[in-house]
């Protein structure tokens, strides 16, 4: 999917599927072992304010584990692990070199919002699932540092607040639930110096794929030198030789810009 889409070949139906998106992006990123990329990425994952200050997921992990995500020995990506509480899209398990491993549960959305209301609130359910890691399948170390990341295309503050209210809103809960946008992935890749040729290739491909999907932040309007120049005289072809019977098409296009686009 990734290479095909980069080159303009894609299945339209798949473009609206968050599962395809998650699979395509993280199916490649799982080959990026613990290193600067993951710290850069989760620095963009931010909590709801705790005493007026947002914390980011990378800092939270650093404080709790004593080291950055890049200092762990290995990364396992577990896609769609089935749980009693539902099926999150992805669990990233960073392990080794530290006494406690880190479990990051990711719920990804493309166009939809989270599922469930009230008690059934999806993110609240996943926070509860992370409270009892022993119940997860496959099993993960019960003493792992856990957090949930809600990955969306738009700002998701409202949804996080609802989930926190449902789960039990306090500082500890806020430190374990983060919002992240797909667009942040490009920023994280831009900030990363790859450790190997393979990492370089993977990150470049993921960046190209996300750009094709327009999953990047606004980065300025086009500069004048890339916009075609149009002169007043360029509109004269419409006046000279009608392309169609002008009685059958609307007149008054001049209202768009009186200087160059005349239909009558």
């Amino acid at each position: 999917m990734l290479t095909a889409e980069i080159h303009g070949h894609y299945v339209p139906e798949a473009r609206n599927s968050e599962d395809y998106l998650t699979s395509t992006v993280f199916g490649h990123l799982r080959y990026i072992q613990p290193g600067p990329f993951w710290d850069a990425l989760f620095e963009f994952a931010v909590s709801e304010p705790i005493r007026d200050k947002r914390v980011n997921a990378s800092d939270y992990v650093r404080q709790r584990s004593g080291g950055p995500l890049g200092s762990f020995e290995r990364l396992d990506a577990i896609f769609w692990p089935e749980q009693k509480s539902g099926t999150p899209d992805l669990i990233l398990h960073f392990a080794g070199n530290h006494s406690r491993s880190v479990v990051i549960l990711i719920e990804a959305k493309l166009n939809a919002t989270k599922s469930g209301l009230g008690e059934d609130d999806q993110l609240a359910r996943y926070l509860r699932a992370l409270d009892s890691l022993g119940d997860l399948r496959p099993p993960l170390p019960a003493d792992a540092i856990t957090l949930a990341v809600y990955l969306t295309t738009v700002d998701s503050r409202n949804e996080l607040i609802e989930s926190l209210e449902e789960y039990g809103d306090n500082d500890q809960a806020r430190q374990r639930l983060y919002q992240l946008q797909w667009q942040d992935l490009i920023n994280a890749i831009d900030q990363t110096r790859p450790n190997s040729r393979l990492e370089h290739l993977v990150l470049e491909d993921v960046r190209a794929f996300l750009r094709v999907r327009s999953l990047e932040y606004f980065c300025g309007m086009e500069s004048a030198d890339k916009i075609p120049g149009v002169l007043e005289a360029d509109g004269e072809f419409l006046e000279e030789e009608p392309l169609f019977d002008l009685d059958s098409i609307p007149t008054g296009l001049g209202i768009i810009n009186e200087r160059w686009m005349h239909a009558n």
Binding site: N158, I161, Y217, F218, C219, I227
Partner: protein, 187 residues
């Protein structure tokens, strides 16, 4: 046989499509800069009043908008509008505004109109200083719905990075606004 005029027109159309793609990102990213948790008044809808009719002057949207209502105080709305097609403008215009509505736009469907910022700005009063927040006089046909509004404008193509949008919003929030010139409003 390709024609020069047609190729130029195609280049223009392609540039317009690229402009729409950039503006779409701008609308989406606007959410991040609103200072409070919010809900979109019009959901994912960014424009309206397009004609599908065969007989039309044009089919392009005249503008696009996004209105975000404050979760704590839903009558308070921050909004962004981009104006593409209006006879009096020389280039696309970005408008950002903060409005206080009489009713909660999330509850009362008619409380907020996607073109509110547009009609606070047009017909263009001169001079309307770009980059300076202005406390708007509310047109009589909107005064029953809008309690007050502050607006800041900028040429769309002067926005080089998302930080520029943040800076405009900061200016809007911290504004000690001059009131709109009532003489200009009568023009």
């Amino acid at each position: 046989m390709p024609t020069e005029a047609g190729q130029k027109m195609q280049q223009c159309l392609n540039a317009v499509c690229r402009m729409h793609a950039s503006v779409s990102k701008l609308l989406t990213d606007f959410d991040k800069y609103v200072p409070w948790p919010s809900a979109s008044v019009f959901g994912n809808t960014a424009t309206k009043d397009l004609t599908y009719a065969t007989k039309a002057e044009f089919w392009m949207p005249e503008g696009v908008f996004r209105y975000l209502s404050c979760k704590e105080n839903p009558r308070l709305v921050q909004a962004i509008t981009i104006c593409f097609v209006e006879p009096s403008i020389e280039e696309p215009v970005l408008l950002i505004g903060q409005l206080e509505y009489v009713d909660d736009p999330l509850q009362v469907r008619t409380a907020c109109d996607g073109w509110d910022l547009w009609y606070l700005y047009f017909p263009l009063r001169t001079p309307w200083p770009d980059g300076t927040p202005v406390s708007c006089s509310i047109p009589s046909d909107r005064a029953a719905r809008i309690r007050n509004a502050t607006l800041i404008s900028a040429p769309l193509y002067s926005v080089c990075r998302i930080g520029d949008l943040g800076a405009l919003l900061e200016r809007l929030r911290g504004a000690q606004c001059p009131a709109e010139d009532p003489e200009g409003a009568d023009q």
